[in-house]
Amino acid sequence: MTRVHNLYWEAAQKLSRQKLVVICLGIIAVYILVAVLGGFNVLPDYQTRVGAQYEAPSLELAKLLGTDLFGRSVLYKILAGTKTAMLIGVLVTSISVPIGVILGALAGYYGGLVDVGIVWLYTVISSVPYILMVIAISYVIGKGLVAICLAMGLLGWVGLCRLIRSEVLKTRNLEYVAAAKVIGANDLQIIFSHILPNVIHLAIISASLQILGAIKSEVILTYIGVGIQDGASWGAMISDATGELVQGIWWPLAGVVLVMFLLIYSLNVVSDALRDALDPKLRGTTEVAEGDAQFEAQEAAVQKA
């Protein structure tokens, strides 16, 4: 266990030495705070009219980013949307990461039929167009926030599962696993207390990517009409803004794009830094770079959704 502690302690120290990473962590903390405040209903109500229709940004707090079609504050709407975005990021990740870790570990450790079954399952999932599956599942559960989170979560584990599976495959024949067997540890003990601690950093890196991927996907899903049906969402704001832009009303779009960019950028920077810091092996060996490439492929797929 000390080894694990050292790895994460060192990683934390490494992160805290990088200025940009610290700033980005601060930004993420602000978003979390806004989301929590939104959850406790202490933020100003975005449904209230604060002025006339389409007022341009001014220095008054409620009108800092102007007003929308109904004279509501764009800023308040964005703040309310922050809760939705963060909730989606956390929900999707807390579904997909455990599935990926557990199935990956089982497939890698047991091999044989278990492995065949799990590999079959993710081959099936990855050979159906992602967007079709997400829409279909969210229809089945009934459109809305929980539905798209479940849909994205149930589909989002494949990349991580592959990675964990191949890492566990390499790990299971190492001496320390054999040693654990000799002293009488059962399979579950070996998987959970001996193998997983050595591959769990992959889950942490993957989780940070999943959060930003989910937030980006929500915007697109909401745009095509399967995402958030009511309530404030950045996706809904962006799709409303398309028509407004032609009328010269740029501030709702500009506001939401800026706020979303800051969050996604910070998450991107932090997940990159996490990847650098958590690589237990020396940088530059092929194995590490292979993992790098896989994470970057995962990100590329997210970007092109």
Partner: protein
């Protein structure tokens, strides 16, 4: 070799069965009811029963599923519930449109991004490298939707360099497709350059590079003759999985620019519960996906003598 190919093709069967079950369950049992969509809320029970009989939806589910399996084997998914068009024809015309939207920027983007990544790898560790890596992360932090909205607004609406949307058949499509092509390439630069850079840097640490340098090959020579060849293997594995999906088009693009491709057809089929369309498209994608995976493995084995097929 032949035995390997046959074995791999046989492996596709369980995958197809799995996809068939998922699609069948999602749309047939729990999805949108196409009869309701077609006839509206106030249909008479007689009309509903007639339409169900016409579409074969009155059959027991196991029979419908067997019918689906028969369709998979014969490649004939019948007609769309809503347009009445034969699906083979609808797919052929839609796929052509979708490919004309996605294939040119895919090929062009691949070349452009590899060139940029090689330049960055050549200048690794300098400000050029740091600047481009930072720029890549920034460009990846903007939503796809925003790229489309902004570029359509500025380049088509404000500057009038491109038509705002629309489509014309044949070569006349090019002016309409130019802006979507540009957007697809621009969006791909950030993530793709980053991953290619990682691949190149990874290759640069290989032993063969040290050997080449030691025997006096110039840095450029190493990059272009030795590294590029080896880096093409991971680059190909990364890119080729995207090829089957090219035919589906880019549904966001098709929506914003009113391009009649398969992507938009798929989204409206989901909304209407147009089951034959969905069955046909999904099965098509599943099979091409599996075949392309096989082709990738064969290609890799062909160019890399270290890889043994088994």
């Amino acid at each position: 070799m032949l035995g390997y190919i046959v074995r791999r093709l046989l492996y596709i069967i369980p995958t197809i069965l799995g996809v068939a079950v998922i699609i069948f369950v999602l749309f047939n049992i729990a999805g949108e009811d196409p009869v309701r969509v077609a006839l509206g809320q106030h249909a008479t029970p007689q009309a509903i029963a007639d339409l169900e009989a016409q579409w074969g939806l009155d059959q027991p589910l196991w029979k419908q599923f067997l019918d689906f399996l028969r369709q998979i084997v014969t490649f004939d998914y019948g007609e769309s519930y809503f347009t009445g068009e034969r699906l083979s024809e609808a797919f052929a015309s839609g796929a052509l449109v979708s490919l004309s939207l996605t294939l040119p920027p895919f090929v062009l983007g691949l070349v452009i991004n590899i060139v940029i990544a090689m330049m960055i790898a050549y200048y690794r560790g300098t400000w050029i490298d740091r600047f481009s890596t930072a720029a890549a992360v920034i460009s990846m932090s903007v939503s796809y939707l925003v790229y489309i909205i902004a570029m359509q607004y500025f380049l088509a609406y404000e500057l009038e360099w491109f038509p705002i949307n629309g489509y014309a058949p044949g070569w006349d499509a090019i002016p309409y497709l130019a802006l979507p092509w540009l957007i697809i390439i621009v969006v791909s630069i950030g993530p793709d350059v980053r991953i290619y850079r990682t691949i190149f840097l990874n290759e640069m640490q290989a032993n063969y590079v040290r050997t080449a340098r030691a025997k006096g090959v110039s840095e450029r020579g190493v990059l272009f003759t030795h590294i590029l060849k080896n880096a093409m293997i991971p680059i190909l594995t990364f890119t080729i999985v995207a090829v089957p999906f090219l035919i589906l088009g880019a549904f966001l693009m098709e929506r914003f620019f009113s391009i009649p491709g398969l992507g938009d057809l798929m989204i409206s089929a989901i909304n209407n519960g147009d089951f034959p369309v969905l069955k046909g498209m999904t099965m098509y994608i599943t099979m091409t996906y599996a075949v392309f995976n096989l082709i990738t493995d064969l290609l890799i084995a062909a160019v890399d003598p270290r890889v043994k097929l088994n």
